[in-house]
């Protein structure tokens, strides 16, 4: 096939893991892989992408690209597309990727397929599997013959693996950046708190934790597992924790390797956000709670009695 161009996302020159997953998946498809990386002071980060399968790395290094903008970054990707002439463009389905992919698509006059969890190549055409109805169903779709095929990949679904690429760095010049909506400020969460959308392990608390102070208990388990703290809408609506932690239909859709739901009943809108997690654990004192229907493992019991010895047992491993 004609090759895949992968948009690579960095923050402070650090490449996002989800982008390495996208790059690795592009490489596994077997054709030529190129990468496009906008940012400022990113020379070293760009050079490192050869180790992740990139044969060519299109770099736009400009102070105006330090913070993300839909306009600026779209312009860079379109420029790279002109040079690389790919048959497909992959994005990591992060907040940035999910904004940028359709923005680029509209500029190129094609559609885009978001949130891929499976890809199958038939000749030049990708059949893309993606969850719809918040995970209650899965659809398989393609871009109806339009190229380039623009696809964003759900984070933590495709494995990141190092593999050698030619790693040739090509500077993109002749950019005429016209940025209208600008990011004025990026405020990082305190202590570099791990976001549920990026986490490989999530421990989530619901109404059953009874009060905001008990998120400390949830966090102790999350910390022991090296994971992030999630929440049900009931906990968010009660004001116990910020909405950025909410998992579900009106929160984030996540697919970590391990999802622990404590004091969460398993309403359909919550399941919508986490049912594609690889291993699901439920802790609930109600044996009939619907969460047990999709749990791989569960404890029927009081979370306040169960979590502390769990933390101890994990620490003892």
């Amino acid at each position: 096939m004609a090759g895949i161009l992968v948009f690579v996302e960095q923050r402070k020159s650090e490449i996002r893991n989800a982008s390495l997953q996208a790059l690795s998946e592009a490489k596994r498809q077997g054709g030529a892989v190129s990468a496009v990386l906008p940012g400022s002071g990113i020379g070293e980060a760009a050079a490192g992408l050869g180790a992740w399968g990139a044969d060519k790395i299109y770099v736009a290094d400009d102070p105006n690209l330090d913070l993300y903008s839909s306009d600026g970054y779209a312009e860079v990707v379109v420029k790279a597309v002109e040079q690389a002439q790919p048959s497909a463009i992959f994005f990591a389905g992060t907040a940035m990727g999910r904004d940028l992919a359709p923005t680029v698509a509209a500029r190129l006059g094609v559609g885009a397929i978001p949130d891929a969890v499976g890809l199958e190549l038939d000749g030049e055409t990708f059949s893309v599997r993606r969850p719809v109805y918040s995970g209650k169903a899965t659809t398989t779709a393609d871009t109806a013959g339009n190229t380039p095929q623009i696809i964003s990949l759900r984070p933590n679904v495709f494995a990141a693996e190092e593999s050698a690429g030619a790693g040739e760095v090509v500077a993109l010049d002749g950019l005429s950046l016209s940025i209208r909506a600008v990011v004025k400020e990026l405020l990082e969460a305190e202590g570099g708190e791990l976001d549920v959308a990026e986490a490989d392990v999530i421990v989530a608390g619901g109404r059953g934790i009874k009060g905001p102070e008990n998120f400390a208990l949830i966090k102790s388990l999350a910390d022991a597992l090296g994971g992030a703290v999630g929440a049900s809408r009931a906990a968010v609506d009660a004001g116990w924790i910020e909405h950025s932690h909410q998992v579900g239909q009106t929160g984030k859709v996540v697919s970590p390797s391990l999802y622990v739901a404590a004091g969460i009943s398993g309403a359909i809108q919550h399941l919508a956000g986490m049912s594609s997690s690889k291993v699901i654990v439920a802790i609930n004192k109600d044996p009939d709670a619907p969460i047990f229907k999709i749990a791989d493992y569960g404890i029927v019991g009081d979370l306040f009695d169960v979590i502390p010895p769990m933390v101890d047992a994990i620490k003892a491993l």
Partner: protein
């Protein structure tokens, strides 16, 4: 300050989804169609903007006949005008075609801000806003949680992984709205009665120069329900929570290899 709100009607979020006879779409029987939850935030924001600054809210939807009920719901909550582009069954999930239809219907209207939900619940694409902005040549800001509209520009806040961004954009702009931006109002009885009498402008999609049968940009091959999950291992922990916890950790380590 005139606002245009793009609204789509979707199956109620508590609906049980079944695959329809063609194997590509859902079985619509027994489904209740509602204003897509994120579009409620867009509508509420537009109502608040016009209440503070004057101007009108026009709600535009692209959907089959049944979408009219959701459109009337928007009128009942206070929208001034409603535009119903008839069609949309064949193009479900085809964000770019949907954006083209909306752009054709919106481009000659007067507006300062276009507001959309950040995604349509169900198709879950989250792309129409960005594509529509591109086609209307507007700057856009997605996923807004905070919005302040000034004279010639707006400032917005949103969450990104592990942080928050503050943005500024000149008007006119397009924004897509995220949960947390506001508390959507419900329609009061008075509004519901008034909405019944308000006119709805009807537009045939073909008259906008879009051929729904032309193949579009998104071809669905099939729709499937997730395979039934095998029953999990459930441990009774009411009597001895510590033993249950130890057993669970052991299973996660040795059997699931998850920790």
């Amino acid at each position: 300050m005139n606002c245009i709100v793009c609204m789509t009607s979707v199956p109620d979020t508590a609906s049980v989804i079944k695959v329809g006879g063609d194997g590509k779409g859902i079985d619509g029987s027994g489904i209740k169609w509602i204003v897509s939850p994120y579009d409620e935030y867009a509508l509420e924001e537009a109502l608040q903007i016009t209440e503070a600054k004057g101007g009108e809210v026009t709600v535009v939807t692209y959907g089959p006949d049944r979408a009219e009920a959701a459109l009337r719901d928007c009128l009942a909550r206070g929208a001034h005008q409603a535009v119903h582009i008839l069609g949309g069954e064949a193009t479900l999930g085809d964000s770019f075609t949907i954006a083209k239809v909306l752009a054709a219907a919106i481009k000659d209207r007067e507006y300062d801000i276009v507001l959309c939900g950040f995604k349509g619940v169900g198709t879950d694409c989250g792309q129409v806003g960005q594509m529509l902005a591109g086609l209307l040549d507007l700057p856009h800001v997605v996923n807004v949680l905070e919005l302040e509209v000034g004279d010639g520009s707006l400032t917005a806040g949103r969450d990104v992984e592990g942080g928050k961004e503050k943005l500024e954009s000149p008007l006119p702009s397009l924004v897509t709205c995220q949960k947390g931006l506001n508390e959507p109002r419900y329609a009061a009885l008075k509004g519901i009665m008034a909405a019944k009498k308000k006119p709805v402008e009807k537009i045939e999609v073909a008259s906008l120069g879009v051929d729904e049968g032309a193949g579009g940009f998104y071809k669905v091959e099939k729709l499937e329900l997730p395979p039934a999950k095998a029953a999990g291992t459930i441990i009774q922990g009411e009597d001895d929570a510590a033993a249950a916890a130890a057993e669970l950790v052991k299973l996660l380590r040795e059997e699931a290899k998850a920790i």
